[in-house]
C-alpha cells in the first residue's frame, strides 16, 4: 500500500501519489507499455483509470476530514477526452463537487506537462452508505 491507500489495480498499473494539493491527492502514472494505446499515445482507458483513482482518493480524503466512514459504490462516470496523451508522466486530481449523505459528485482532471491544459476530464457519481 502507498500514501494514498490505493487499490491493487493502481499499484499494478504503476499509479502513485505525487503530492497533496489543498487536501486533494495528485496521482501520477509514468508512460510505459502498460498504459500505451495507439502507437505513441496513452490509452484512454488508462487515463480514465487514473482519473477514477484520483476521484476516489479525493472523496476518501474529504470523508476522512469529516470523520465519516463510508462505503463507496460507483454509479456512473462520464469521461471527456480532449487531447491525446503522449509518452510522458501523466497526472490526475479529483475534486469533490458535492458530497451529501447519500451521494457524491466528484470531478477529476488529467494533464501532462501543464495543469492548465488538461487532456481529459471525468465526472463520477458515487453512492455513499455508512460502513460496517
Amino acid at each position: 500500500m502507498n500514501g494514498a491507500n490505493l487499490p491493487p489495480y493502481a499499484d499494478a498499473l504503476g499509479i502513485g501519489l505525487d503530492h497533496d494539493e489543498d487536501g486533494n491527492p495528485v496521482l501520477f502514472v509514468d508512460y510505459s507499455e502498460r498504459v500505451a494505446g495507439r502507437p505513441g499515445y496513452l490509452h484512454g482507458g488508462a487515463m480514465s483509470g487514473l482519473m477514477e483513482m484520483a476521484a476516489i482518493a479525493a472523496l476518501r480524503a474529504e470523508l476522512n476530514r469529516r470523520g465519516e466512514a463510508m462505503k463507496l459504490k460507483p454509479v456512473n462516470v462520464q469521461v471527456e477526452f480532449m487531447r491525446g496523451g503522449t509518452e510522458q508522466r501523466t497526472f490526475a486530481m479529483g475534486k469533490v463537487t458535492r458530497a451529501g449523505r447519500r451521494v457524491a459528485l466528484v470531478n477529476a482532471e488529467c494533464w501532462q506537462d501543464d495543469p492548465a491544459k488538461p487532456i481529459a476530464l471525468a465526472q463520477m457519481k458515487v453512492l455513499l452508505s455508512p460502513a460496517g
Partner: protein, 155 residues
C-alpha cells in the same frame, strides 16, 4: 509472416477484420497488459473478453474489479465495432465515454464487453455497449459514447 505491430501499418485497401485486428490490439500496450482477447463479432458489433485477475481489483476487501479495466475493455470493443461497421480502419479518437454501473462484476469471473456502433457519419461514430460476466441479460455496465475520425472519414 509477423502480424503488423500496429493498425497504422496496414495497407490502405485492407478490409477491417476484427478477429485479425484484435490480435494486434490485444497483444501490445494497455490491451495486452489487461489480457483482452477477441470473442466474436457481427456486422456492427465486436465482443472482447477481460479475464479477472488479482491485479485488476479496485476494492481489495471485496475482490471487485476496478472500473478502469472495464472502461478500457469497452473503449476497445466499441472502437473496433466502428471499424467493423465502416469496413475499414480509419484512425480515430474517443471523444467521450459514459459508463453506468448496474452492479459489481463477480470476483473471479471473466467480463465480456460487447461494443456496438449504432450510427456512423463522415466524422463521428456513435457507440453503445454492455459489459457482463456471464449473462448478457444481467449486465455489469452499460456504456455510450462517441468517436471522431482524426485522419480521413468513416464513410
Amino acid at each position: 509472416m509477423d502480424e503488423p505491430r500496429s493498425l497504422q501499418d496496414l495497407p490502405a485497401d485492407f478490409v477491417f477484420d476484427p478477429a485479425r485486428a484484435s490480435k494486434m490490439m490485444t497483444r501490445h500496450g494497455h490491451g495486452g497488459w489487461l489480457g483482452l482477447s477477441y470473442q466474436d463479432h457481427g456486422p456492427d458489433w465486436v465482443e472482447l473478453a477481460l479475464p479477472w485477475r488479482d491485479e485488476l481489483v479496485g476494492v481489495a476487501e471485496t475482490g471487485v474489479l476496478a472500473s478502469g479495466p472495464i472502461i478500457s475493455l469497452m473503449d476497445n470493443a466499441t472502437s473496433m465495432s466502428v471499424w467493423t461497421l465502416s469496413g475499414r480502419f480509419t484512425p480515430h479518437a474517443t471523444l467521450d465515454l459514459r459508463v453506468d454501473y448496474m452492479r459489481a462484476a463477480a470476483p473471479g469471473r471473466t467480463v465480456i464487453g460487447r461494443g456496438e456502433c449504432y450510427k456512423l457519419t463522415r466524422t463521428i461514430a456513435f457507440i453503445r455497449g454492455i459489459a457482463h460476466d456471464g449473462d448478457p441479460e444481467d449486465p455489469v455496465a452499460h456504456v455510450i459514447g462517441t468517436f471522431m475520425a482524426t485522419h480521413g472519414a468513416y464513410l
